[in-house]
Amino acid sequence: VTLSRHERFTRTYRQYYWPVVRYLRRRGADEEEARDLTAEVFATAWRRFTSLPEDPLPWLYTTARNVLANSRRSRGRRWRLTERLAAHAPATAAELDLDVHHDLHAAMATLSAADQEILRLSTWEDLGPTQIAQFLGCSPNAATLRVHRARQRLRAALELNDPAPELEESHRDR
């Protein structure tokens, strides 16, 4: 049975809608913005549907990153102001709860933005090296190496004493 383009796109949309929404929320988008930007990501996917890769997820995340960057760019200055004001507001219970991960966040903050994103993609989005390679636009070997190095840097920043696991472990694809 050959599915029409509409049907195939709808399938892709159903499968990846929430992962894209979550990707955006994890990177600080509020609910409304995450939904708006997800619509934008899939509108782009629809326009380019014939040329989407077989596994579209890394492409969707790359596009999500770009639309989020665009959105931030246009409003960045204002947000920064809001952040500053928020910095003086008393912490809410939810914020205090987040503080459980304070050491981790502090360690992550010492890494480059690229390292941070690679590590988040590996853990939060559960991407394997092949998918990360697609996201980064590099070879899977290079992606594996970059994940490995990013992990080492995070370990160092966390001051964990055990040596980083061998490369093979992080090479496991999903």
């Binding site: 509409h6 796109f9 709808t10 949309y13 159903r14 809608y17 929430w18 992962p19 979550r22 929320r25 994890r26 939904r35 708006d36 997800t38 619509a39 934008e40 899939f42 509108a43 782009t44 629809w46 326009r47 380019r48 549907f49 492409w59 790359t62 596009t63 990153r65 770009n66 639309v67 960057a69 665009n70 959105s71 931030r72 760019r73 246009s74 409003r75 960045g76 200055r77 204002r78 920064r80 102001l81 500053r84 987040l98 991960h101 981790l104 992550m108 933005a113 590590l119 988040r120 590996s122 853990t123 939060w124 559960d126 992990r151 995070l154 370990r155 966390l158 964990l160 055990d162 696991p165």
Partner: protein, 331 residues
């Protein structure tokens, strides 16, 4: 054994549920809107990136340029406006800025009438997108008019201005692409009901230089980033408010005492007006960038703000030195 990846997994602010939910009402509505587009270039909502909000990390600019969807017929280099031609001046920045401050302080106070701010600009930025689409083959300046009042109501309208092409190939590529943002195209038309316009600064600008230095630092970490951020703050302020002569004088005096400010020379800006250009260089964005402010030599008014890449273009498809954004205020 503590594993950094386990820690990171535990810190996931929005974990994947075991069974992903089906599409909700909002998701289904968006899906039908997308499918009804018939793969044309127009999205349901045009998301417009305000060129005037320029000056972000180069990483962002790079990722934006890498956006899938760039027309394949685009020339190898993106079209950028020519650099401003400068005539050297033999004054120090501090002396010139103090002179301009004195002039500004003497200007009749012709700022906002009834507190209504009207700001009209011509602007362009390499990173500007409409609905995720860039126009790389042409320089399309936007003519923007912002108006907002004390009740925070307002309107913002941006129209594509006169198109500029670096060469014939670019013009042909632009025509092949369907002449995006042809002159007169309305790229944004927005009204803000009372309370909805959010100015970057809440209170009115002060008129003394000491208070102005503190005021400019609101939302702009000048002490952390350096003088480049002061240049950005001054541009941002002028994008939101019409300054009185004394306020403009305070801005100029703050600039006069800032470190690493140089005089670029006498220029003609994008609107053909004579100006004094001052600059500071910074690689805070990731690429060495020259921040330029152009002032009216006779009144001290801020006429233009520009950003240029001076040494390398990174992954940006431009030839250095390259103008990456400009704003010219129409007073």
């Amino acid at each position: 054994v503590t594993d950094e990846m386990t820690l990171l997994r535990q810190a996931n602010p929005d974990p994947q549920p075991v069974k992903p939910p089906d599409l909700d009402e909002r998701a289904r509505r968006d899906l039908s809107a997308i499918l009804s587009q018939r793969r044309t270039r127009t999205a349901p909502r045009a998301r417009w990136v305000w060129a005037a909000a320029a000056a972000v990390a180069a990483a962002v600019v790079v990722s934006v340029l890498g956006l899938p969807g760039a027309p394949q017929t685009a020339p190898a280099y993106a079209a950028t406006p020519p650099l401003l031609a400068t005539q050297p001046l033999t004054v120090t920045a501090a002396a010139e800025l103090h002179r301009l401050a004195t002039l500004a302080g003497q200007q009749p106070t012709a700022a906002a009438v009834d507190g209504v701010q009207v700001i009209r600009t011509q602007s362009w930025a390499l990173s500007t997108r409409v609905d995720g689409q860039a126009v790389a083959s042409a320089v399309v300046p936007l003519e923007t008019s912002l108006r907002w009042g004390p009740d925070r109501s307002g309107s913002l309208r941006a129209v594509a201005g006169r198109t500029l092409f670096p060469d014939q190939a670019s013009e042909q590529a632009w025509r092949r692409a369907g002449q995006p943002w042809a002159p007169g195209t309305v790229v944004r038309d927005q009204t803000y009901p009372p309370g909805k316009y959010a100015p970057m600064w809440q209170g009115a600008p002060p008129a003394t230089s000491q208070a102005m230095a503190t005021y400019l630092a609101i939302g702009h970490p000048i002490s952390a980033i350096g003088t480049a951020e002061l240049f950005v703050a001054i541009s941002d302020l002028a994008l939101d408010r019409q300054l009185t002569g004394p306020q403009e004088a305070a801005v100029l005096n703050v600039l006069a005492t800032a470190p690493q400010v140089g005089v670029l020379g006498a220029v003609r800006d994008r609107l053909g007006r004579a100006g004094v250009a001052i600059y500071t260089d910074s690689d805070y964005s990731g690429l060495m960038t020259r921040y330029v402010l152009v002032f009216d030599p006779a009144t001290g008014a801020l006429n233009a703000s520009e950003e240029w890449l001076t040494t390398t273009a990174g992954a940006l498809k431009v030839r250095v030195p390259a103008v990456i954004s400009y704003t010219a205020w129409r007073h």
